[in-house]
Symmetry: C2
Subunit: 276 residues, 2 copies
């Protein structure tokens, strides 16, 4: 989805998307990163801390009702304000299909990259809740956040803990005004392909499904890549959204394929934990 | 390259390839996995232990001369027999451009997969030499072997130790007679793409060059994929060989690109070693 400056509009749109997905049979729904607001991390501005909210809080209350009403497991990315002293996190919240909040993850890897418009270190503490796997009615799931996607370690740990699907709520794209004025289109393309390659590789290395859920639209300096996709345990892209349109992808993931692929490629079996 | 039952023929062909590569300006040359023989691991047969050889030994002596004569750094994959009690390894040997043996690596991850024709556990002990990085005149290099390529951990450790190029001598392909009789072409294609994806992902995750050096030809049950390639730190494939022809790829790797890519994507900087 794309996001506007109107927080309630973004939440309503997300709710409509969840409802539409559920109507098409979705069992687990994941929203994109920080969907409540525009991607404010492009500048360091203290007024944006006002966007942060407590968990539980008003937004999680609405998301809980949304999950319950639609009988879906729901993963939502929020700008979290923890209590005194106030500490701020980039947080995923998990709700089960009865609306219970059943898990929380705080983004581990925080990009400190204002020059490329990802100045997140100003806003977010590095996560301190480890790498939880949530057992839900529809499968064992984990959800990391955006920059985490470049780290094989996170996906590996989730898979070792039993995750069958790994979600990546994301807000990533390319700078519309170049990188120091010299961003050839070929570089944008290479980075966009790299983003897809690395996430497919997590599916392959671990024999799991991977769902990347990205923002679309242009905000300030960034043109978000869109192209949300789901890859199966062989890294095959089952469905992929467009680069610039909002879409609700409903993708059938046959979890039986996990054991089937791992029978031929038992990579998790042979790790040399004595060496690395 | 493809390999025949005649060991001396394979060595001569490899030597001709090294010489041809050097004549085209190659500085570091990597041969494919176990290039001295056919890929014998498709069956468990004790007579194949006779192919193993000591390191140093007659083959490394010839390879040393070859490196020295051509003034190249040379990486060669050998079936190693260690001394009493005899232990056997799938081993990479590194020679510098003066012909000195400057490093050795023993394959860490050994596929125990006779049903898919990679019955290596019968022949090879898991490696016990860790993950060495070799500083050469032409760059800091590491070399893993075939099945290691599915493990992000190996590439990560090499990069953290300073490797700029990671080589993967390899012998991988698809079963010509199906997998239990039911290997759809789409599965072969998916596996072949996954093999390329996972190795490109090592380049991306670590900001290094990756060179996959694979066998070609049909031997018994396996049709090797060929398609040796070199990827740059953004995962872009700089050159790729064909699926079925022997080729000597000489690929220019601008090591300056490593720092350039890592300046935008400093993934190694932000690892959460406290968590994983």
């Amino acid at each position: 989805m794309s996001c506007t400056e109107h927080q309630e509009e973004n939440l309503s749109k997300a709710a409509a998307g969840v409802t539409a997905a559920a109507a098409q049979g979705a069992q687990i729904v994941c929203l994109s990163e920080l969907f409540r607001s525009r991607y404010f991390c492009q500048t360091e501005d203290k007024r944006f801390f006002a966007l942060a909210e407590s968990i539980p809080g008003p937004t999680t209350e609405q998301l809980s009702q949304l999950a319950k009403k639609n009988k879906v497991v729901l993963i939502a990315s929020l700008f979290e304000k923890d209590v005194s002293p106030p500490l701020y996190y980039n947080t995923n919240v998990f709700f089960d299909e009865r609306g219970e909040m059943v898990g929380k993850y705080r983004k581990l890897h925080i990009p400190d990259d204002l020059k490329n418009h990802y100045g997140e270190a100003y806003y977010f503490q590095p996560g301190n809740l480890g790498l939880p796997v949530i057992e839900t009615r529809y499968g064992k799931i984990g959800a990391l956040v955006c920059w985490d996607q470049w780290y094989p370690e996170g996906a590996r740990q989730l898979a070792l803990k039993g995750a069958e699907i790994i979600f990546y709520p994301t807000a990533i794209g390319y700078p519309v005004d170049g990188r120091g004025g010299v961003t050839p289109p070929s570089l944008n393309q290479a980075e966009h392909e790299a983003w897809q390659t690395i996430q497919k590789s997590h599916a392959i290395a671990n024999g799991v499904f991977v769902a990347a859920v990205n923002r679309v639209g242009v905000e300030d300096h960034l043109n978000f890549w869109g192209t949300s996709f789901v890859a199966d345990p062989l890294g095959r892209v089952l469905q992929k959204a467009s680069e610039d349109k909002e879409e609700t992808l409903v993708v059938d993931c046959d979890l039986g394929l996990i054991d089937e692929v791992r029978a031929d490629w038992p990579f998790l079996q042979c790790r040399r934990v004595d060496v690395y």
